[in-house]
Subunit: 363 residues, 2 copies
Amino acid sequence: MSTPSLLILPGDGIGPEVMAEVVKIIDWYGENRGLTFDVTMDLVGGAAYDAHGVPLSDETMAKAQEVDAVLLGAVGGPKYDTLDFSVKPERGLLRLRKEMDLFANLRPAQCFDALADFSSLKKDVVAGLDIMIVRELTSGIYFGEPRGIITENNERVGINTQRYTESEIERVARSSFELAMRRNRKLCSMEKANVMESGILWREVVTEVGKDYPDVALSHMYADAGAMQLCRWPKQFDVIVTDNLFGDLLSDAAAMLTGSLGMLPSASLGAPMANGRPKAMYEPVHGSAPDIAGQGKANPIACILSFAMALRYSFDEGEEATRLEKAIEKVLADGVRTADLLGEEGATPVSTSEMGDKIVAAL
Amino acid sequence: MSTPSLLILPGDGIGPEVMAEVVKIIDWYGENRGLTFDVTMDLVGGAAYDAHGVPLSDETMAKAQEVDAVLLGAVGGPKYDTLDFSVKPERGLLRLRKEMDLFANLRPAQCFDALADFSSLKKDVVAGLDIMIVRELTSGIYFGEPRGIITENNERVGINTQRYTESEIERVARSSFELAMRRNRKLCSMEKANVMESGILWREVVTEVGKDYPDVALSHMYADAGAMQLCRWPKQFDVIVTDNLFGDLLSDAAAMLTGSLGMLPSASLGAPMANGRPKAMYEPVHGSAPDIAGQGKANPIACILSFAMALRYSFDEGEEATRLEKAIEKVLADGVRTADLLGEEGATPVSTSEMGDKIVAAL
Ligand SMILES: CC(C)[C@H](C(=O)O)[C@@H](O)C(=O)O
Ligand SMILES: CC(C)[C@H](C(=O)O)[C@@H](O)C(=O)O
C-alpha cells in the first residue's frame, strides 16, 4: 500500500494546541517505527471562516474525501456566536460528518484509574468503567428537512425534523452489534418509542438486526430512563446505540461522569473505501474550551488517544495503538498532570506541550 | 369559593398504591383542618385501556377540564408494550397535558439531607441541592406534525417534527423568570442553537423575555453541555428552562442525581381558569415501576409531595403545604424508610401503607 494519508484539521480554541502534540507523536512514529503518513494540515470551523468566509471550504471537503483519515481538534468559540447559522463553525464539522457519511460515532466512556477521584460520582460507581456509546451521526434531527424559522399567523415558528430511514438505522445497528461481539456481547438501544414514531421504527429495526446476532444480549430503554441509569449505575452497560440527538446528550453526560473528559477520544466511521479502509474522522470528545485557549493549559491526551483510535480502526495498527495507550498510562502513573487533572491540592501542572513531550519520551 | 375539586387518576403499576396514601392525607386535612375537597377517582393509562379500550376516555378528559386540579399516579407497564401507539398508556397522559394546555412542567431536583448518601454522586456535590427544572410540556417534538412511519423509496421512514412558536416559548420563559424571581434570580436556558433552528428561535425569545426581568441573571447553555454540567456540579444552577424533549432527559437525570427519585414531585401548570386558579396536574417524577407494583414496596412520598405542590400552587394553602412537607421531614428524621430509601445495610423497611400512616401521624 502507498503511504497512508492524513488530513489534520486543528480548528478553533484549544484545537491547534492539542493537535500540535499529536503531530509530535506522528513524527515519532515516522522516525522510530517506520510508520510514515502523508500529512496535510488545513482549516475548519471559525478558523476556516476567518480565512475563507465559510466554516469548511470546498477544497478542504474534497481533500477529506480523498484521505485515509481525518483528525479534527475542535470547533467553535464566542467570537463566532453571532454569525449566521449557515456559516457557524459547527456547520463545518457537520458538513464533514454528512458528506463523508460517517454514520457510526464511537464514543468510549472510560474511567482512567488514576483519575477516578475526579469524577463527581462515587469511586465505586465509576472505577473501572468502560462502556462504548455508538451514536448515529449523519441523520436524525441534525439534518432532517424541513427545517428553519418560518412565519405563520404573524409569528415566527422554529422547525426541525427528525427523520430516520430503515437503512440508516440498520447500518448503525449492525456496527453496534459487531462492536458488542468484540466486547462483552451486551447492547442496549435507547429511544423514546413511547412518544416518537421514529423511536418505534428504531426499536423495530434494531430488534430485526439483532436476529443476526443471537449471541448479543439486546435490551431497549427509553432515553430518559437511559439518562437516569447512566447516572445511577453506568457499569450495567457495555455498548449503547442511540440516535444523533440522544447520543449527543447521553455521550456527553457519560463522558463527564467518568471524570476523564479531557481524556476521551472518539471515532466517526463510514463505509469502506476502495482500499478497504473505512471513511473515518477522529476527534476528542471535549470541545474547543475557549476559556483556556492559548494558555498552554489544555490536556492533549484526548486528541492523542483519537490518533491511537485512528491507528487501530483506520490503519490496522492495533499493536502500535496499544503502545501509545500504554505510554499515556505510564505518564499518568508517573504523576504527570495537566491542570484539568489536578484537584485543589496545589500540585504543579505541566503544560500542554510538556505533556506531549513526556508521552513521546515514554514511547 | 365553593369546595375545591380534585380529579384523582391513580393509573398503572405502583400508581394506585401510592395514591391510596395521598387519599389518607386528603382525608386528614378534611377531618382536622376543615380543608375538604370534592374528590372524583377515575382511570388513565393501561387501567383506562383495560376498561374502555382507550388510555383516557372523553368523559375523563372532560372532567379533567372542569376540576381545580388533577392528581396523577403513573402510567405504563410491560403488559401494554405491544399495543398500538395510538392507545398506549402514555397517550392518555400526553392527551391530558395537551388538551389542558399545561405548558409549564415544574420539576424540582432536590436532595433530601437524610438521603444524600443514596446518590451515586459524591455527598458534597449533591448535599443541599435544590434546583428547579421548568420543562415545556405541550409542544416540541412530542406533538409536532407531520409525524408517523411512512414508506418512501421502498423503505419505511420514521418522522417526528420539532415545532416551537414564539408564543409557546414566550409563555414558558415568562413562567420560568417569575419562578426565578421567587428563588435565587438565576435562570439558565438550554437548547441546541448550534445545530437546530428551533433552538435559535428559543434562545432569541428567551433573551427577549429576559428584558422584562433585569434582576434575573440569564444564561444560555447547549443542552449537551447542560447534561454535562448537571452531572459535574449541579449546584451551579437555580432555575433551568428547556424544551419538552431535552426537559424529559435532563430532569430525569437531575432527579436521579439527587438520590431522591422516589421523593420528587412535579407540577404541570397552564393558564389561569375563570376562578383564578391555574389549570393544573400534579404527579410524581418516578414512573409506574412495574417490577415492584402490588408488593407494598413503593415509596408514596413523591406522590404525597405532589399533593403538597397542589396545596401551594392550586389552592393557595402554602402554610398547609409546608405543614405536610415538615411532617415528611420528621418521619424521615425518625428513620422511617421504605425499601428504596435503605442501602444494603439490612434495616427493615416499612410498607407503602405504613409510610402513609406515619406521615398522617406526624401531621
Ligand atoms: C459542536 C456540535 C455541533 C457537536 C454536536 O452537537 O454534534 C458536538 O456537541 C459533538 O457532540 O460533537
Ligand atoms: C411517560 C412518558 C410519556 C413521559 C414523557 O416522556 O414525558 C415521562 O417520561 C415523563 O417525563 O413524564
